[in-house]
Amino acid sequence: MTDTEATMPADPQAYLDQVMAEIADEVRARRASGDLPPKLERELDELFLAHSPVAGRGGDLGEALRMVDAATFIDPVVPIESERAAGAVVKKGMRSLLLWYMGWVTHQMSQSAAAVSRALHIVDGRLQELERQLEVQRVPEAGVVEFPALHGPDAWWVEPAVATVATAHGRILHAACGDGWLVRRIVSAGGDAYGVDPRSHVVDRADLGPLDLRAEPVAEHLRAAAPAGLAAIVLSGTVDGMAGGERSQLLSAIGTRLAPGGMLVIHSVSRAAWDGADAPAGADLAPGRPLRPEAWCQLLEQGGYEATTARPGPTGSDFLVTAVRASIVTPYPPAER
């Protein structure tokens, strides 16, 4: 028997699966120990984002214009410091010799850049005016709308949702996570879960411990997440009151961030519950209304999901939709912005 034969397990894939499971255990232990707090991982993301071009930070025109303004002046007086003996003298001589020529050229370039900058400022001013006019017609973003009896650890759909995602190989996202009640359940069941919620006051109040909870809107979080970086996503209290465009953008972002074969779980209340007298005020204020289960199934199947199922709750007040991201669906999804 050769050394290689002695080393190779009978079933290499099963051996590697076992190693990966042990690595997942190690990750859970590390996270629980606080060796690398979630806050530090987030700070890494933010630090890199700070170096990305303006478009990567949300396409702020004002910031872009400030960069244009800063770069408008082209200095023809080049630095002449040198590490070599007499280098500075030589450079100074060359600079003196060429300055009249370079000065003439750079003056025109600076003038040209300044003209472009002025034009961009005019465009910026007109855009701001347009935005002011459009503001009155703006559809507000949907907030988190939670029903006390349907959004909490005792809700009927929690067990099936946890069972669906807990075995996923990779990170599991819950939005809106609130104080982490579902994240905690998924982690207890063996999943590598974290949560996002736009309600910073709820997240800040939570007893985080080793939990990774982030105070940010789910769509914004997904735009910054790595493509195909999530193994499962659970949405609750998030999509019910979304208007069509916002929902479409969210699904587009999910489509690129959820890994092929990844699970999408959506909990939604029914329209009857949404319009009920005991519905929270957020239901009235939301720009949209919940979709019916059939509509969710159709929407997800058209969007490249398989094995779509809708499971009604016991009182008819809500339902749970589950779907699997197909391995290849729409390779070139529409832009998210």
Partner: protein, 368 residues
Amino acid sequence: MTAAAGGPVAVHQFIPTLNPHDATGTHTLMLRDALRAAGWQSEIFAEAIHDDLAELAYKHWMYPEHAARGDVAIYQFTTSSAVAPYLAEHGMPLILDYHNFTGPEYFDGWEPLSVQRAARAADELALLAPQAVLGLAKSRFSEEELRGAGCRRTAVVPVLADYRRVTAAPDPRVAAELTCLRAGGGADILFVGRVVSSKAQHELVKALWAYRRLYDPRARLHLVGGTSSYEYNKALLGFVHDLGLTGAVHITGEVSDASLAAHFAAADVYLSLSAHEGFGVPLVEAMVAGVPVVTRGAGAVADTVADAALLLAAADPTYVAAALHRACTDDRLRAVLIASGRRRAAELSGDTVAASLVAAIAAVVGRP
């Protein structure tokens, strides 16, 4: 089109850009040799040709000077190119040799021109795929894309590549430098690929940061490859500086084959966290060089590495750091990854692949 005796005399190749040191350039040159050995006439036509290969190919618009009745065209589809509409208009029997391309979403926010180019490539794939008599994909992942784009008949055959360059004599100067670094202790983590947002080198830097903090404070990361993205490269350098990793992250730029061999010889582990890979030739090169592979399973990577790598479901730093630690310190795992890597690399190596390619082409267009 079905296989028939007395097939075409010539099977020519078309490619957007013929470069000497990239995966598709090598594939195209090796396929030309295989086609000629099988008895077909075969030339290469390209929109752009590297100076070093000027004697080996023609501009694509020069094809009419070489055209003959019954010619078959193989298009090496790698990106958007003027060659695509040219072939679509020409109407000759077309085989689409699909290398996959990085979708526009991976460049969003970084490279506006690349976004446009990738979107055009998607349009060109949709244009050519339904016309093709055969689609050759490098992985099942790419095959599904080809079918999705309307290609009716497909086959999966890996990239033709010359993996011997990574086991050639290493550059002695580079080898000495790397040995000097290793003398100070700490693992050497290697990634080979262009510095561009889709390759996600910043995720590698994050992983190194976590790995050094949790397991090995003296670990180093070697990023080998040129860049085609000024903005991303600049951001990466700034990120490395801010994290205080300037001495631990070695960004080499483009290197010679001998320098590449030295880097593979010195690496403890090969780590890829690319957001998208159409095949991933460097993954196979690592296997050939006997370096354990840890990789995110993005794009076609899972097809390429099969069961010969630690396949990560996510790129978050803690997870990657834990996998790196295991791959660097578990002797049995290292031995298994190295042995299974060499076996997988043999499955993907030259002669077998060339024969499969020729057989797939002959099955559709007939033998010469």
